[in-house]
């Protein structure tokens, strides 16, 4: 214990202790990260303005959600990391219970049972909560163990990740299931899981792919994958989304058709233009320059986030913050890759840009936690 304290003060990365007097440290805010997030959010709102196509009510609602999201960001940053550490197991258990509830009492939307509803009040997706709860639980588990984790601890972590992933997969919501598992797995990666194990696992999954195709994937999921390779096979059905989104992006060219000038979205060819496919609107109206700018902003956020994570005063903090950043990236990648036609269509919104509340608030909570682990004194 004493030794650990001693080493911590010596840590060259522990600048929190070195610059304790900055105003934003006392407010537990990282101005660079908040600034980058705000750039993306404002930029996203500009594009959304076009994508809502004059629907003022939707637009106002989204701005209100971001107001809430900023409050969540600030509040989450004020809460000290050891509180998160303490509640991690609880959050995980509650999340698992809710997932079980969904399985039995959930509300079906478009053929999959993902929502819990308290009539007249609200409804939400417990799987969204698990996107935070799983990395928290894995980080909590590894906090007390020496790193890199032994095979035994790695196995335990895999169990923690796999149980909720299976429940979510049953809904069925394969996309979220993989993302939840991925969030936990990114903790493992940051914790030093040997690359060679990762490699073997990758090979094993590749080898099992035909079996997964046959026994795990549902018919519509297989169809989505097939569509990716040949969208023209069913241009008005399954291929429609990909054809229209790549057409939108491609027709944008270098500088785009101009804001509010995207014929693909305005004439309703582009499906889900304000939610999952909003990057196609951006690509069409603002062109390659517009999309590249967004991706650059994302890259800066990821860089800043990882930097902040590395400055955390505890294993839990580092792993959790790092995992959030990587999860954030996975969302970005999966969304853009899907819309531009290099991944199958899965329901993943574009972080901080797509219309919707749950995702924005969850992400901002995550960034709050990142700032919290960076700005609170080591413990």
């Amino acid at each position: 214990m004493i030794q650990a304290d001693f080493q911590r003060t010596l840590s060259p990365y522990d600048s929190a202790a070195a610059k304790p007097s900055r105003w934003y440290f006392r407010l537990h805010i990282d101005p660079i990260l908040v600034g980058l997030l705000t750039v993306v959010i404002v930029y996203g709102l500009v594009v959304l303005r076009s994508a809502v196509d004059g629907n003022e009510a939707l637009y106002t609602a989204q701005i209100q959600r971001y107001a809430v999201a900023y409050v969540v960001l600030i509040v989450a940053a004020q809460i000290p990391p050891h509180f998160y550490l303490r509640i991690s197991p609880l959050v995980y258990v509650v999340g698992m219970l809710l997932l079980l509830l969904v399985l039995f009492f959930g509300v079906s939307v478009k053929g999959s049972q993902r929502w819990l509803e308290i009539p007249w009040l609200f409804r939400f997706q417990p799987s969204e909560l698990m996107k935070l709860a799983v990395p928290m639980a894995v980080a909590w588990y590894l906090q007390k163990r020496s790193l890199p984790p032994s095979l035994k601890y790695t196995a335990a972590c895999l169990v923690i990740m796999t149980l909720p992933a299976l429940l979510i997969g049953r809904q069925p919501d394969l996309g979220t299931s993989i993302l939840v598992f991925g969030a936990g797995f990114s903790v493992l990666l940051l914790a030093g899981l040997p690359w060679r194990l990762v490699l073997w696992a990758g090979l094993a999954i590749s080898a099992a792919a035909p079996l997964i195709w046959q026994f795990v994937l549902e018919g519509y999921q297989r169809q989505r994958v097939l569509t990716l390779f040949d969208p023209q096979s069913d241009p008005l059905g399954a291929g429609w989304n990909i054809i229209q989104s790549t057409t939108a992006i491609g027709s944008g060219g270098l500088f785009g058709k101009g804001l509010f000038q995207g014929s693909q979205s305005y004439l309703d060819f582009l499906p889900e233009a304000r939610t999952d496919f909003i990057v196609a609107v951006m690509g069409e109206e603002l062109g390659f320059v517009g999309v590249a700018f967004l991706l650059l902003m994302y890259l800066l956020i990821i860089a800043r986030g990882l930097w902040l994570a590395s400055q955390a005063g505890s294993t839990f903090g580092r792993l959790l913050a790092g995992a959030f950043v990587l999860t954030f990236f996975v969302y970005v990648f999966v969304n853009v890759a899907m819309v531009s036609g290099i991944l199958p269509v899965v329901g993943v919104p574009l972080p901080l840009v797509s219309y919707g509340g749950t995702s924005a608030i969850t992400l901002m909570a995550g960034f709050g936690v990142i700032m919290s682990v960076r700005t609170h004194k080591a413990w």
Partner: protein, 641 residues
Amino acid sequence: MAPELSIKDQNREVELFVGRATTLFVLVVLMLGLLIYRMLELQLWNHDTYKIRSDDNRIRVQTLAPPRGLIFDRNGRLLADNQNASSLALVIDNMPEPSQSLERIGSLLELTNTQRSEMISRVESNRRPDAPLVVVDSLTEEQVARMAVNRHLLPGTEVVNRLVRHYPYAEIAAHAVGSVRRLSDEDLRRVDPVQYSATEFIGKRGVEAFYEDTLHGQVGYQKAESDALGRLRQTLDVQSPTAGKDLYLHLDIDLQRAGVAALAGRRGAVVALDPRNGGVLAMVSQPAYDPNFFVTGMSEAVFGSLSTSKYVPLFNRATNGQYAPGSTFKPIVGLAGIGLSATTWDTVIEDRGAFQLPGQEREYRDWSWTKENSGGQGMVDLRRAIYRSSNVYFYDLASRIPVQDLVDFAAQFGLGRDMSVDIPAAGSGLLPDPVWKQGAKGLPWFPGDSVNMGIGQGDLLATPLQMAVVAATLANRGRLVQPRMMRGIDAPESGDGESLLPSTQIALEQVSTQDWESMVAALEDVVHRGNQGFRGNGTAWAYIGQDIDYRMAGKSGTAQVVEISQGEEYDEETLSEFDRKHAWFIAFAPVENPTIALAVLVENGGGGSSVAAPVARAVIDAHMQKAESERVAQQEMLVQR
């Protein structure tokens, strides 16, 4: 204290984390690079492809139907115009559940079963599922309102305004002007599919059919931006269609109306020509039909009655009805006799009511023959034979003219062939000769055939249009004209009518001017010779000649439909409706400078003088009144100047 904690090495863990984070960050950069690569691929390298695809998505080229040319009569009155009609159109591609939607539309608009089945058959035979297809013509205002209210429930439907053909005079000019019909697949194989890509109707009868190319015009295009549901958002580029050319006809709707009124519901036809140029002034065929039904659609009951009626209202009697000309053929026989020197104006024979060929039993009778009274016209020369319509005179004369000479002579009046310039599929009648008879019946030409031909019976057939040409040729003293509908294109006096085909001038050289005038005088007697006592009046005088204030020449004809056996009397009462005699009258006026020549036929109407002549008189009266009022108006204008 757990043993793990004691071996936890914070410093090493931080280094481990930083190492991992760096590696993963590099991975992040690579993966974002992949996305950038993908964007470059879509937005720069393949930009053109996607740009075209995006434009194809939104830009729809629609063809625009040209407005059909209008048709005017000689007074500038519209015989066929285009009216705005609201119709229901469907874009099948944009209908999620076409069959369901059709049912909905049917109940929403309260369509009749006929309309529903018509709608379904049009959808089934649709050629372009991406273009609007008209399925219900002429919506009422209430139906338009209902569609407007329910439009959001019925994607792919729209109410379109388009021009449809309208015939203001409906039945009156139906057979003359003709009508348009919905374009069929068969039509499409015949016409230029590009020019007709937006056209719904095509001329099917009469002038509408013959001048289809002139009336149709040039197709136009419209580039328009439409959304994913096929709704039109904005027009980008328009190449307007070129309207079809207007047609000005010789037809005079007033004469047409007079003809319809004079026929007074009887089956028959009136064809009036301007003998100077062959222009068709009137072409009536009764019963007729309302051509507007072919545009707006008609109920099965109406169509059934039109197509199966024993009175065949869709049949154009004026141009295609073929009847024995009867006594109206006598002037031709008479002129042939003079021209071929078979008789002279002074030759007199005695008509005792019957004629027999040498050595034959059979009696050919005069029309005045009855069982009680052998009839006959007494002593007759050619002039009297004409105005009394002596059968015996012409039996005798025809039997003495070599048949081929008589036929060749008659052919110079346009019989046996279609002389019309711009009347589609007009009948050519039948001018029989020995060759024809051998071929058609396998029988030689008997002297009796010539005898029958002498009074326009036997196998001889002519259409009312052909008999009008005969009347015009008589009016012209031998100059044959070809009947034509069109007077001008785009302007009444454009000269297009004359340039079509010159009026042929076949001078009947065998007949001298003197002979022509004698024949005209005889024909004048038919109408004007009166108060001459028993068997002294012209046949038509009693019916039309007593109060006439201009000079008209004419010839009646009463054509037998069934053969009356030897010794039997014709008795209208005992004959069925369709076996009664046809009434003919051909005439022209004024005698000196004829401006109208016509033929009237009343099917199974009875006597030519009593039934057909009054119809001819009514039409010519209408013409003469107009000519007179025009003359007065012209004089007034001259005085004013």
